[in-house]
Structure formats: C-alpha cells, structure tokens
C-alpha cells in the first residue's frame, strides 16, 4: 500500500477511540451532566473487551461486553451524582481513578496475551476504488459504526423530539421540569449512553487498534475527548473533525519519532497531542471564538426534582 494512504488509515485508527468517547460525553454534557470519568470508563471498557475476546475467542462478544462495562461505570456515576446529588467533578475524577485501578486488576492476567484482531470488512466494489477505497471502505465494524453513531447523534440532537427534550434539560432543568419532562430520567439515559460510547472507544483500542492489553493503555485519550467536546462547541460533526485533527497530530508525532524527522527529543513529540489539547482550549476560549461556545447552561449543576 502507498505509505501515504497507510498514514491516513492509521489516522483513522487514532481518531476513532476519541470520536466514540467524545460523542458519548457530548450527549451527557448536552443533558447538563459533566462526567470527568471518561478515561476510567474507557479503560474498563478496553480491559473488558479484551478479556472477553481473549477468553471466548470472539470480538463479537468482547465488544458488547465492553459497551456494557462502560455503561455500568456510568451507572455508578449516575447514581452518585443524579440520585445522591454528589458533586459531579469530584465524582468524575474518582471514577477515572477507580477505572484505572479496576482495569489494572481485571487485566493483570491478560498482559501480553494475544487476541485475534478484529477483522476488516471491506465493502465490496467500493473498497476496490484506488486511494478512496482503502481509506474509506476497508475497515473493521467499529470504524464504520463510529461514523454511523456521529450521524445518529447529530440527527438525534437536532431533529428528534427526544433530542430536543435532552437539550432542553441541559439548558434549563427547572423549566424542563416545569413543563413535565423528567430531568433525572433524561440525564440517566444520557450519562449511560456516554458510558456505552466510552466503553466502545476503549474496546476499539484493545481489540482493533492495538490488539493487546497494557495498563492505562488509553494514555489520556479520555481527557482529550473531554477537551474535544469543548473544542467542538458541543456539536457532533465538529467532534468528528476534532477527533481526526487529534488523530492526525498523534500519528504525526509517531511518524516523526520513528523517522527522526525533527531534531527534538521524542518526549517532546509525545507531548504534541496534549499540547494541541491545551492550545485548542485556549484558542476556543478567546474573544471571538468564545461567543460560539454554546455550553449547556446547566452543565455540572445538580438538580433536585421537587422543591
């Protein structure tokens, strides 16, 4: 394969976990819940996906298991913050720390074990198109699904009534409650969806991208996903663009390290995606950009149903 095409394909691989995690978080945040536990949910998803795939020998069980594991982590978060009204920031941070520990515990027996890589499903005819074929139509199911999910989330939020209610709940919980919409119920659903997506993002890492288990293999991707949501101004298609931008930076630094392209220490290059995150957050908070930030008005605010 043309090395240029290969580079683009690897960018897709680097972007997909970010896309999953950020899309899920976007939905949770649009409903008004800030879940900083994305990293933890991804890790638990990754290790569960890997463990189930390694044990049963099929990713078709591993991937749903990962989604379920992420959802369960999110359920823990939801019970604490939505039912028991714990502080969302503190709970999210705790969830990440918990996820790091829990995934290491589950994964201790699986370090170094191989799993069959998730098979690619080339789309007949289309995948034979030169250049475009391998870039667009020669991937595994999780990559295709990530695009479907982006479109689905975008459609859901913008067009469906349930999506409208979800946005309304994130915008003004009191008013939504006053109109008879179940604020807590909607937020539970949104947070659980966030967990499911984070779990899928984790599974993509451990089953498809680098089919193995290493402790803390998400390497901060959960945090980047959080920043992506802000960068994308809570809009699904912009999350897609952002994820590929970051995927690109990640691949660039890998390539640059490997080829010795730049006369700087490899550690500096490894910092690139994270530096880019900080830069994006700074730029998106600056003057003219700030206006376009449309953070949900109730983001992070606890809601008590009856007063």
């Amino acid at each position: 394969m043309d090395p240029w095409i290969a580079a683009v394909v690897t960018i897709i691989g680097a972007a997909t976990p970010l896309l999953y995690a950020a899309l899920g978080e976007l939905v949770a945040e649009r409903s008004g819940v800030l879940n900083l536990g994305v990293e933890g949910m991804m890790l638990v998803g990754a290790v569960t996906g890997f463990a189930v795939t390694a044990t049963t020998g099929t990713a078709w069980l591993g991937i749903p298991a990962a989604a379920l594991a992420g959802t369960l982590m999110a359920l823990l978060f939801a019970v604490l913050t939505l039912t028991l009204l714990a502080n969302q920031v503190a709970t999210g941070l705790a969830l990440t720390i918990f996820g790091i520990g829990l995934s290491a515990l589950i994964g201790s027996g699986f370090v170094g074990r191989p799993v069959p890589q998730l098979p690619t499903l080339p789309i007949p005819i289309l995948s034979a198109i030169p250049v475009l074929g391998p870039i667009l139509f020669d991937h595994d199911v999780l990559i295709y699904l990530s695009f479907v999910m982006t479109a689905l989330v975008a459609w859901f939020l913008a067009r469906s009534r349930a999506g409208l209610v979800l946005r309304a709940v994130g915008e003004n919980d009191e008013a939504a409650h006053g109109l008879g919409h179940g604020v807590v119920k909607v937020r539970y659903a949104a947070v659980l969806f966030g967990g499911l997506m984070a779990g899928l993002g984790g599974a993509f890492l451990s089953v498809s991208y680098t089919p193995m288990w290493i402790e803390q293999m998400t390497a901060g991707r959960g945090w980047i996903a959080l920043a992506l949501v802000v960068f994308a101004a809570w809009r699904p298609w912009r999350v897609l663009v952002g994820a590929y931008l970051f995927g690109g930076v990640t691949i660039f630094q890998l390539q640059a390290q490997g080829l010795g392209l730049l006369p700087v220490p490899s550690q500096v290059l490894s910092m690139l995606p994270y530096l880019a995150t900080i830069l994006v957050l700074v730029v998106s908070s600056l003057g003219p950009w700030r206006r376009r930030l449309n953070a949900p008005a109730c983001l992070g605010r606890p809601f008590r149903a009856t007063r």
Binding site: R167, N172, L179, G180
Partner: protein, 515 residues
C-alpha cells in the same frame, strides 16, 4: 349554575417551615375570567403550580369538570386542557422559539407544520413571533409571547396567566384583553393573576383574594374600587406615595449626547443618536416595550459597555469610557433589571452583596483590605431602612423572595447617596407593599436633589413616579414629555413606534388607522 370547570376544595400545601396554602377553596366556571389576587408570598404561585401538576397538594381536592382528579404532572394537566403562562418564563435560551413551543406541547408535531401554526396563532392574536429566532436574542416582552402562543396552540379549556401584562404597551394590553375575552366567550376559563387592580376591574368576572396562604375574601372586581381590593390584599391601608410639586428646569446632572451604538447582540437593537438629560432633583422615566434598545442603553449608562468619553457626561465630566466602578465612585449608581445574577450574587451573603456595590462610596475596603464589620453594618442599615425581610446579613441573596431582594438591591444603591441613580424595572415582579417602599425611596431621593432615571415597562409606575418621560422605540428616544400633561394614549402611540417628528397630524392619522 353549570358544573364548575375547576373547583378547589381545602387545598393545603406545607413546605418546611411554612404553610404556603392553607385550606384554599374556590370555583372557576366555564368561560369565567377569574382573578387570583395577592401579594408575592401569598401563595398564588404555589397554588397554580398544584393546579398545573408541578406540585402535589398535601391535603384537599381538585375537581375538574365535576370529577375529582389528581393532577400528577404538567403532562396530565395539559391533557385535561389546562395551559399555563408562567410568571418566570419557562423558556430555554439556547433554543429557538419553535423548539420552545414544541417542548410545551403534547405529542410530536412536524417542525414545518408547527412553524406554520405558530405564525397563524401569533397573527390571529396579535403576538408577532418569528419561529426561527433564538430565545436569548428576544426581549422580555417577546419571550412572554412565546409562553402565550404555546398555551393557545393547545386549545386550552383553562388558561392560567401569571402577571401577563406587565411588559405590554397599553394598546397591546387592550389587544390581549380582547383575546382573553374572545377565549372566554368561546368557553375557555381563565385564571388571571395580576397586581394591577384596574386591569382586574376591566377584565375579570370574579376575584379570589389570598393573603398568607389563606383565602381572605372573594369579590366582584367590577363593584370594588382599586383601593378596596388593595386593602383586602395587603390587609392594611396602602397609601400610594404622593408626588410633591417640584420645580423643573434645574441643572442637568447626567447628559447623553449623540450616542449611537451597534448592539453586540446580533438580534439586539442599535441605538441611534440618543440624546438625554437628567436634571437635578427630577425623576425622568424611559417608557417602551421590551427589546427596543433598553438593554443597550442601560449597558451604556451603567458603564458595562464603554463608549466615546464625551457622549456621556456626569456634572459636565466626560465618563463614557469609565467602567461601572469608576462611575459609582463619581456618584452614578445603578439598579440593574435582573436581580439574581446581575444586581446580586445569589450565592453570596447580603453583607457581601452590599460590599460589592458600596465598596468605594462607603469606604469598605481602604488600602485593599475588606472591612467586614463595616460591610455588615451597612447591610444591616439597608435591611432596617427598607424593611427587608431576611434572616440577618449572613443570609444568602438567593434565600430572599423577589420583592425583598429587590428592596435590598434598591436600598443598597440609594443609601450610597448617589448623584445620579439609574433604576431599571425597579418593581418588576415585586409585591405591592415592596413597590410602594421602593417608589417612596426614589421620590425622596429626587427631593434631596438626586437625578433619578427610571426605565420601566410599567406605564402606571412611570406615570406615578416621573416628572418627565421619554419613550424608547427602535433604539431612538422621543422628545421628553412632561408627565403631568401626557396622556396614556399619546405615550402608547409613541411606544408603538410612532415618532413625534410628524407632529399632531401624523398622530391623528395613525390613530385613525389603528381604529
């Protein structure tokens, strides 16, 4: 008599520490416009929330068309045929008009059809609305229209309206009344909450008066005088503040000249060549329907939006570039429209809130160190002088009722002995007792020689309070009218966009068109 549309029987609701409603009973007949009268804190909001299913009563029964019902949720209320226009709008700033309406409707209506129906209803009832606009760009008046349209779309059989006219021009009020009478004529019952007693007299068939959560009387508003209803509502005689005769044509303190400004808000109103002069010892009023440039003008006057230094002068000194703090230091104090979050920080104590505004004029932070004791004493002074009901100076601003917080905010500015006081909607959503306190304080301030500028959408307030009046429309100011000589109709026409440049002939022509 027919079966009542709605009947309440011994409704009681307790909150920790208070009984919000205590054995409230009354009936609303089909097609009746029934007034619910009472001060803020009398329990009206709690009561209607129970009718609308937001809250559940602790005791008592609600009967709907003769059948006992438990209104478990607003969904359920809407299915029964109950619509409600909330006092504090239940709107979503980041969403469009259309989406806001959709959220309050039962079932999913295709977007295009919904937009069409919104246009239809808003045209029929004279409530112009663009379904695609976002709420954050709309004025208070326009926001209220969304609430009303949202209800009307559901063909309600009982419409609950909480203070619906406070943001409308007299002509718009007339039009709304026509709508409401038309609705009542079609058999829809209306539960109408208002402090404006002459409106009740003009509109309502019956009134139930609440005080301290209990029904203290029922009456036929047409047979009562405004004063007798006010006394029933408050429980004591309320004397409206007397406006002393004052000499005009004193020296200007605050002058605005040649102020043109493009609004920051893409849907805001640009100010065009605004000229304004507030004189020593006068109360100048600015009337107008919300969204005609008031927000922009206030931001400029307060110093939140700096402009060319010379366009605003205080005692001849150019202050256009100065921020709010510098202006306060020079004596320009400001009462913003929004109490929570603009005038006061909800999560800070009253002492801290007093400190935030009075820091310089009261010397509460010499050499950068806060004088906590002095701030507390100042807050105590405000609480005492303005009769603020609060649990001490450590009480959070958010723990106060709207009227009490407004008294506190006004008192905090007034006791700083300003040169000029700019007050935006000083009695918006405030009960009658608190409004009288605030009005008296503003008049006293003017008597002491302070230049007072009051911006309000409540024309009655301006007529009672001001010496001169200007009308803001589309970002322009009319020439000043002497309040004592102005007629409601004249002001109303100016509010509706007719400028006085064409002279009397133009006024007559427009009036004829409208008729």
């Amino acid at each position: 008599m027919d079966t009542p549309r709605l009947e309440l029987d011994g409704i009681t609701k307790r909150f920790p520490g208070v009984v919000a409603n205590d054995g409230v009973s009354f009936k609303v007949a089909p097609g009746e416009i029934h007034a619910l009268l009472g001060e803020n804190g009398a329990g009206k909001s709690t009561l209607v929330k129970m009718i609308y299913g937001v809250l559940q009563p602790d005791a008592g029964r609600i009967r709907w068309e003769g059948k006992g019902v438990r209104v478990l949720s607003p969904h359920f209320a809407r299915r029964l045929g109950i619509g409600m226009v909330f006092q504090h709008f239940s709107l979503f700033e980041a969403l469009s008009v259309e989406e806001n309406v959709a959220l309050g409707l039962e079932g999913d209506i295709p977007r295009r059809e919904l937009g069409e129906r919104i246009r239809e209803v808003s045209r029929d009832y004279g409530l112009p609305l663009d379904p695609k606009r976002h709420v954050h760009s709309l004025s208070v008046g326009e926001r209220q229209r969304i609430e009303i349209v949202r209800c009307l779309l559901q063909n309600p059989r009982l419409l609950i309206m909480d203070e619906p006219t406070s943001v409308l021009t007299p002509q718009e009020v007339e039009r709304l009344f026509l709508t409401l009478r038309q609705l009542a004529g079609e058999g829809c019952s209306i539960l109408y909450i208002s402090h404006k007693l002459h409106e009740l007299k003009a509109l309502c068939h019956a009134a139930t008066v609440l005080r301290g959560g209990r029904v203290v009387g029922t009456c036929d508003p047409a047979r009562e005088t405004a004063a007798s209803m006010a006394n029933l509502m408050v429980g004591t005689d309320l004397a409206a503040p007397a406006r002393p005769e004052r000499r005009l044509a004193r020296k200007p303190v605050l002058e605005v000249e040649g102020l043109s400004l493009r609004s920051d808000d893409p849907f805001g109103t640009h100010l065009a060549d605004v000229r304004l002069e507030v004189r020593q010892g006068e109360v100048l009023g600015i009337a107008g329907v919300a969204g005609n440039g008031q927000a922009e003008l206030l931001a400029v006057l307060a110093g939140e939006r700096p402009v060319d230094a010379n366009t605003i002068r205080l005692d001849g000194k150019p202050i256009g570039r100065m921020g709010t703090r510098e202006r306060r230091r020079l004596g320009l104090c400001y009462i913003p429209e929004e109490r929570n979050g603009h005038a006061a920080v909800p999560d800070l104590s009253l002492a801290d809130n007093a400190l935030l505004s009075a820091i310089d004029r009261k010397g509460l932070a010499p050499r950068g160190l806060l004088k906590g004791g002095a701030a507390k004493r100042y807050a105590e002074e405000v609480i005492r002088d303005f009769g603020v009901k609060a649990n001490g100076t450590a009480a959070l601003a958010s723990s106060l009722s709207g009227g009490n917080l407004q008294k506190f905010v006004c008192g905090r500015e007034i006791l700083q002995a300003p040169r000029v006081l700019v007050a935006a909607q000083p009695t918006w959503g405030v009960d009658a007792g608190a409004a009288v306190t605030i009005h008296k304080a503003l008049l006293r301030l003017a008597e002491e020689g302070v230049a007072v500028l009051v911006l309000s959408q409540d024309l009655d307030e301006l007529l009672a309070l001001t010496d001169r009046l200007v009308v803001i429309n589309g970002g322009r100011l009319s020439r000043p009218l002497v309040t004592a000589e102005a007629t409601t109709e004249e002001i109303g026409l100016l509010m509706g966009g007719l400028h006085d440049t064409t002279g009397a002939g133009g006024t007559a022509g427009r009036a004829a068109d409208a008729a």
